[in-house]
Amino acid sequence: MDHRSTLSVLRSQLGEQAFVTSEFRDNFRIEVPAERVLDALLALKDQAGFDMLAELTAVDYLHYPNARDRYGVVYCLLNTTTGERVFVKTFVNDPDPCLPSVFPLWKGADWLEREVYDMFGIVFEGHPDLRRILLPEGFRSYPLRKDYPLRGRLERHNFPVIPRAES
């Protein structure tokens, strides 16, 4: 797939130095710093025709070899006219991982951002309804973070017991 037109849009909107591209097999990846990611996504949507947010997910790079940042957030974009796909990556860090919400750009980001918030605790500013989506509301941890124990912190045993005589 040819990404030259996409690249020229990004260069004209963000400047030459604002992003790094790489390619692995047929995955074309654009790394953007967190403060420019909304500009990049806006340019990709409005000027390069990426009208679909196919996936939005995150990665915890704790203990990952040679990683500089804690969390990576990945936006998988699809241009439904040309079939072109790009992967926009950005990085955020503790103690306050935070990104602007892309809900105004793609309505499909609603639940995706909620899921990333639920599992990683990354806050999306401007999201209309940032609540937990899969876990119970009172859950206090973010289970896909690498420092969360696999068996949890006893949340699964915190229920009342019903003896036979009382039921």
């Binding site: 509301e137 206090r140 949340e155 915190n158 005589a165």
Partner: protein, 197 residues
């Protein structure tokens, strides 16, 4: 002319009669959350035909059932639902824990999956297997029938003695100190609170 007694009568105990009718018409409530539910459906359908043992009337309303069959893994978010359904069933009632996941968590030893429903509700019969074959579930129903016939009473007195929780040792004792926390829990949110550090 002498009065002859009617031939159509039988002398028995009320308990025996109650047990006889209860055991032979158990109404299962399917609490099927995973693949065990498929075997549960197979058990009830024509090939294995649970109707031979009087338990074919599967109802999806807990108010009409007296045998809860928990089939499949139960996650944290599901436990309050399961307990509520159990409490909604009218007495007398029994519970079958079907399959490895419902009985012990199975292979799913993660933060979200409950390690055996018997930690939170009483269980009468466990069925091993992953998933169990329909024959095993039929055996479990027959065991429940046997249990009812042996110790059942008309007013359900056999349940009154079981006041203590019939559960295994709390898993907290098996955890490393670093994973342990001591905090009051919240029933409403099914979660407990702790210091993150």
């Amino acid at each position: 002319m002498a009065v002859r007694p009617n031939e159509n009568f039988l002398i028995t105990q009320l308990d025996w009669l109650a047990n006889f009718v209860r055991a032979n018409s158990l109404w299962p409530m399917p609490f099927a959350t995973a693949c065990c539910g498929i075997e549960l459906m197979a058990t009830a359908s024509s090939r294995y035909d649970l109707a031979r043992f009087g338990s074919e009337a599967i109802r999806f309303s807990p108010r009409q059932c007296d045998l809860m069959i928990v089939a499949g893994r139960v996650v944290m978010k599901m436990v309050p639902v399961m307990q509520r359904i159990w409490l909604q069933m009218p007495e007398p009632k029994w519970c079958i824990s079907m399959g490895a996941c419902a009985s012990s968590g199975g292979v799913f030893d993660t933060y979200a999956v409950v390690q055996g429903i018997d930690r939170f509700i009483p269980v009468d019969v466990y069925v091993p297997g992953c998933p169990p074959r329909p024959e095993q579930l039929i055996r479990a129903v027959l065991d429940i029938q046997e249990k009812v016939k042996r110790q059942g009473t008309l007013l359900g007195r056999e349940f009154e003695e079981r006041k203590a929780p019939e559960r295994p040792r709390p898993l907290a004792l098996e955890l490393a100190p670093s994973e342990k926390i001591v905090a009051p829990g919240s029933v409403r949110t099914a979660t407990q609170e702790w210091d993150v550090n």
